[in-house]
């Protein structure tokens, strides 16, 4: 049980690549923080720096208020679950879990008690004698979890632990990890490139891009109010649509892709009068047969998923994805009237991609 704090953490490699740039991050005690970002954004490096597997180029890492910047991984009281599980192939499940306790000179009966207890939590009681290669992917994943839990560390670190599992198992393990973390109340940092994992698992989400934290907040906060166009496009599935827009009529109206205008909520964006910006619209925020501001657009492709229907629509020269609830009788070539609630538009500056909020009336 501990909070993790990163102060101005920087990591530059000898070849000049800067993986992390002055990252400040705080994970509260018992909180589950998911760090999400595209590959190469530095998220794994971030985790490895917390674990002590790499040395910092600048800044400090604190775990439970203790500065661990210069400490060895073993002294940081953390446990890590690796992407490839990193189970010791020559040891059986029992020894895999007992290894860390033995290294810490835990008395034998105590080791035995804790290993069996952990196995029980994870449903591995009957597998204790097996070698990792005799286990399925999901079971290996559980052993890797067990190895982390058994030591009852101050924090868990997860490095894309589900990416080697098939889709169905991934959804199942997602829930299991989350439940387990809640139950044990251990602080957790979880790294993933999968936005669905990020949304469903995290108490808090940090979106990382090019070694900087783009936004941090609860999953819904980030979904509702993405701080930048990048975050908007990264979080949410299917991804947000981006269109060109221009502010008109003293900031009160938004002209979208030179096709139609929308009245902005409140006083609009008077400061942006006459300027171009990026308009983000989530596929699920389109409505069919909406208000008077609707616009008829040709359907390119229909993807019925049963519970919802994804429609690709030609919006000027751009393909826009629209997600509608239920199965809808539309075929490609049809024209459908679409509208959007102005309150659910996301506006981003063209220069720095930063979110622009309308001024309240």
């Amino acid at each position: 049980m501990a909070e993790i704090e990163l102060n101005g953490v920087t990591k530059a490699y000898p070849n000049g690549v800067v993986a992390l740039q002055k990252v400040d991050l705080k994970v509260a005690d018992r909180e589950f923080l998911v760090v999400v970002g595209p590959s190469g954004c530095g998220k794994s490096t971030l985790l490895r720096l917390i674990a002590g597997l790499e040395t910092l180029s600048g800044g400090h890492v604190l775990i439970g208020g203790r500065d661990v910047t210069r400490l060895e991984p073993a002294q940081r009281d953390i446990a890590m679950v690796f992407q490839n599980y990193a189970l010791y192939p020559h040891m059986n499940v029992y020894n895999n879990m007992a290894y860390g306790l033995r290294n810490r000179k835990t008395p034998k009966p105590e080791i035995d008690r804790r290993v069996r207890e952990t196995a029980c939590i994870l449903g591995l009681e009957t597998m204790l004698e097996r070698k990792p290669r005799q286990l399925s992917g999901g079971q290996r994943q559980r052993v890797a979890m067990g190895r982390a839990i058994v030591r009852s560390p101050a924090a868990f670190l997860f490095d894309e632990p589900l990416s080697n599992l098939d889709a169905k198992l991934r959804v199942q393990m997602r829930g299991e990890i989350k439940r387990l973390q809640r139950r044990l109340g251990t602080t957790g940092v979880y790294v993933t490139h999968d936005q669905a994992e990020a949304m469903t698992m995290g108490d808090q989400l940090a979106v990382l891009r090019d070694g900087r934290i783009e936004q941090k907040g609860s999953p819904l906060e980030i979904y509702r109010r993405p701080a930048t166009a990048f975050v908007g496009g990264f979080i949410g599935s299917p991804a947000m649509n981006f269109l060109d827009g221009r502010i008109e009529e003293g900031g009160r109206k938004l002209r979208v892709a030179e096709m139609f205008s929308i009245v902005l909520p409140g006083a609009g964006l008077p400061e942006q009068e006459g300027r171009n910006l990026t308009v983000g619209i989530r596929p699920e925020h389109f409505k069919i047969n909406g208000n008077a501001a609707s616009v008829e657009l040709p359907v390119e492709l229909v993807e019925p998923l049963g519970g919802q229907t994804l429609i690709e629509v030609l919006f000027g020269k751009k393909i826009v994805t629209v997600s509608l609830d239920g199965a809808i009788a539309i075929k490609s070539g049809d024209r459908i009237p679409l509208s959007v609630d102005p309150a659910q538009l996301h506006l981003f500056s063209l220069e720095n991609e930063v979110r622009l909020d309308c001024i309240a009336a």
Partner: protein, 293 residues
Amino acid sequence: MEKRVFFEHRLTPYLLVAAQLAITLIFFIWPAAQAFYQSTITQDAFGLSTTFVGLANFERLFSDSLYLHSIEITLVFSALVAASSLSIALLLAAMADRVIRGSSVYKTLLIWPYALAPAISGVLWLLLFNPTIGIIAYALRQVGYSWNNFLSGTDAMILIVAAATWKQVSYNFLFFLAGLQFIPRSLIEAAAIDGASPFKRFWTIVFPLLSPTTFFLVVVNLVYAFFDTFGLVHTTTAGGPAHATEILVYKVYRDGFVGLDVGGSAAQSVVLMAIVVLLTAIQFRYVERKVVY
């Protein structure tokens, strides 16, 4: 659909393997058969008459204290060579595994000794250890050890062990390095997080995972020490002093070509053949199984 190639003529396939068969028969099977045959005969000193004696050559061999001594010497020699060349190679490989800059130069340099003929490496070490002019002998004298491989059996043994080990280290090093690089980094990192010291990580994680490589190398090194060290012994100690370094392969030569005891020498070759067969069988039985752990 049948995709196999058919030969019209029945003899064609045999013709195709004929060259390989001929080589095997002439250069491997025939000499081996000759050894078997000669191990059952005795010959007079001029090679004019031969007598069939059955297993008498073997009986004589195993009641000969010099032969039993040679077996003992060979076991000591092989064990020392295998143990020291493996441990030195493992140490070097473990260090090379961490080297990032200039690693290819380092590796290339380490591999050089392997390209040397055993006889050459023998001469090199003979000069280094030469009691009068050798630099190592000189250094040993400085620390108070009077080195003389011409008089002391122990010194002579150390000399051939050093030379044989030095040559084999590069080979072992290559295999160990490959083995080490095959171990996923995350395993070592997991062990580090699990609180294992670097030393403990090595012995509880790395070394067990290297066991298939180690086992393979133990067999290869034993075979090397048993059979490939003739040239080395011949150029350095010639089996002396007083048979102190007369290992089995060298005794075969001494008895057969110097002592002209063709039957006894052949019997010794048959014993060596049996050892090769045994080692090969062990190797196939265990090493060919891909995963030992």
